[in-house]
Amino acid sequence: MKTWVTPGGVHPPENKHQSLTLPIGSLPLPEKLLITLSQHIGTPAKPCVELGSSVLKGQKIAEAAGPVSVPMHAPTSGTISAIEHRPIAHSSGMLAPCIEITSDGRDQWQAHQGIEDYKNASASTLLQAIAEAGIAGMGGAGFPSAVKLNPGSERPIHTLIVNATECEPYITADDSAIRERAAEIIEGIGILSQILGHPDNILIGIEDNKPEAIAALEPHTQDSGVSVVSFPTKYPSGGEKQLIYILTGQEIPSGGLPADIGMVCVNIGTTYAIKRAIVEGEPLISRVTTMTGEACGINRNYETLIGTMVSHMLEHSQFNQDRCSRLVMGGPMMGFSLTSAEVPIVKTTNCILAPSYDEIPDDEPAQPCIRCGLCAEACPVSLLPQQLFWYSQAEDHERLEAHNLFDCIECGACSYVCPSNIPLVQYYRHSKGEIQKARVEKVKSDHARQRFEFHQQRMEQAERDKEAKRAARREAAEKAKTAKSGSEDKSGAGSAADIIAAAQARAAARKVSPEQQQAKFERSIAGAEMRLQMAEEKLAEADDSQTDEQKNILVAAAEAARQKLEQARGRLAEHLKERNGEQVD
């Protein structure tokens, strides 16, 4: 079958033979298993068991929370010994919510069975079973499979691609799974095809460095409509975007999904898990993980329970810490280093790599970039890594976006070839994080601006209302005055202004005794005196830490208070003069 060639790419030494000498093994049951609640893209699962309760193998211990989420299941029977934040395998080293199960050694399954007549079941029944089984993409991304397999009616799927590429060096999990479980995998592909409405093309993409796996698949694919397509080995051919291009020559539009061009790409390990879920009713509680690297005496694949601690795996693989230069979860190109082995395996862990110093020596310090362009030649997405590096150092977000930073798949091919040992991928990850942060902040600041503008409008409206009320009162007072000096007759019940005017007229008509008036004036003087005192105190307190502007404000306030006092005294004096004048008259 015709295949296309992606641009760029590198050919690191494969180092796969070390872990393929033995078939898939199993580790002794660990004492404690730690299940992280967020092993997938989407909302973390919510625990649905209580501390201390006993669970059986395969029992649900956490519910899916929301449409893009998967549930978690107990990998073995035992008791829930903790539901708290624990260290997980993440580059940040932060803690995350986990459920710890102490096994009781019996490894007892809960009663389970698959869908009887699954070949005639509807797509939605199958999808629900997959969702209940907690299946997420096991190739590395961890996207909930039930959501991926349900792209909706507006996006009909014409091609199903099963990803058996496993392009990273050292990893052989999918390879050994195919060799031993080919029949079940083909059955799983049949189920996928059924869910997607029998797409026209079903392709298994596999690199040509896996002849045994190809041979294992061939007999089962004879009449099933499934084609096994092998293509030349190159890193990174296993990325979804690259594999789709290799097999079909089409590209996923930037920012889009394969479903946008009518394709779905599923990892072959996920396919096997889906088959087990539908046919045997087993939730996703274990996966094949490669244990490899020269610092381990035993290099092989294990069917590992989800939640097994890495330390447990290392213990049973003759691990020699002194020889080990670093501990990597994943492959040597995209895996992340672990600072401690007390972290659990998750659904997307395909390899634990413990290399010796010969295999992966310590990094050299980075030399300056000489813009040699080897990175641009290696980039499978045709980016210009040297320019991205330059703008990442300069924190020039606009240029980074213009150079398509977010199309970078972080495969590491550029850093692999860089002769100056520059950690390019870390720069890109950092910049992507900074740009995301800036976007979130922009949304927040736009929102804050809206609220501020509304706040201002509200204030202005309140001012206007107050003004209106003041104007109304003034009008009413005017009317009351004319009403008082004019005719005596009351103009019957009427507008509110009339009522107000009448009330004001009554108030004005009420005679206030001179003594009461004097007392009123004296009270206002006392108030003004107190306010002046406060203003002067504040001014005295002002020291050099205040700016001149602020001092001027205080001085002005004191002045104003003084003036008000003067006015109040003046009013009292006038009043007394009037009274004396009246008395004299």
Partner: protein, 199 residues
């Protein structure tokens, strides 16, 4: 004509240059009228880049007045909540050099903070509600006040008016979702034999 130019070279040069000047001046004037942009869009563009905390640390009563002042030529390094990133963005927009944050107006905070009212001590005076520029405080007279943390921009304006000083500015915790890789250390940091550490 060539002979005339040869005979009166200075006059010819004068006429040529003045003529060209008139021609280009006319062209420029025409272009200035035809391609004129109404209003001053630069103020909007600057305001888009400011963080909208309306905190007043720049000396202006809000972000929009500061944006207007920048458009008139004010220094662009007065905004601590925006930090160096905002200074760089404004410098990029206006094509001017990007200075460091002016320490007189405040320091760039390492961690974002939001206000938190200690409800036991709140007396319900509404002074903080009036102070908040984005109406992020819920409450009414003689009723409990509380800060809506999602809406709080961390501007600090509510802390002063509170008569019982019951408002704290607490740091916002970074979760694993928001974590991202730090920038790798530069070569200068990695070499142990640097003679002068600040290089």
């Amino acid at each position: 004509m060539i002979e005339t130019i040869a005979q009166y070279p200075i006059l010819a040069a004068l006429i040529a240059l003045v003529g060209l000047g008139i021609l280009f001046g006319a062209l420029l004037g025409f272009a200035a009228e035809k391609f004129k942009v109404e209003g001053d869009p630069i103020v909007e563009q600057i305001d888009e880049l400011l963080p909208q905390t309306q905190c007043g640390q720049c000396g202006f009563p809000g972000c929009r007045p500061y944006a207007e002042s920048i458009a008139k030529g004010d220094a662009i390094n007065k905004c601590p909540p925006g930090g160096q990133a905002t200074i760089n963005a404004i410098a990029n927009l206006l094509d001017v050099p990007a200075p460091e944050l002016d320490a007189e107006h405040g320091e760039e905070a390492d961690v974002k903070t939001v206000a938190y009212i200690r409800e036991d001590e709140c007396i319900g005076c509404t002074k903080c509600i009036q102070a908040c520029p984005v109406d992020a405080i819920l409450g009414a007279a003689k009723l409990m006040h509380t800060v809506i943390a999602d809406e709080c921009t961390g501007c600090d304006l509510c802390v002063e008016p509170c008569p019982v000083d019951c408002i704290d500015m607490l740091p916002v915790e970074e979760t694993i979702k928001e974590w991202h890789w730090p920038a790798p250390p530069t070569t200068a940091d990695l070499i142990a034999s640097d003679l002068r550490p600040q290089l």
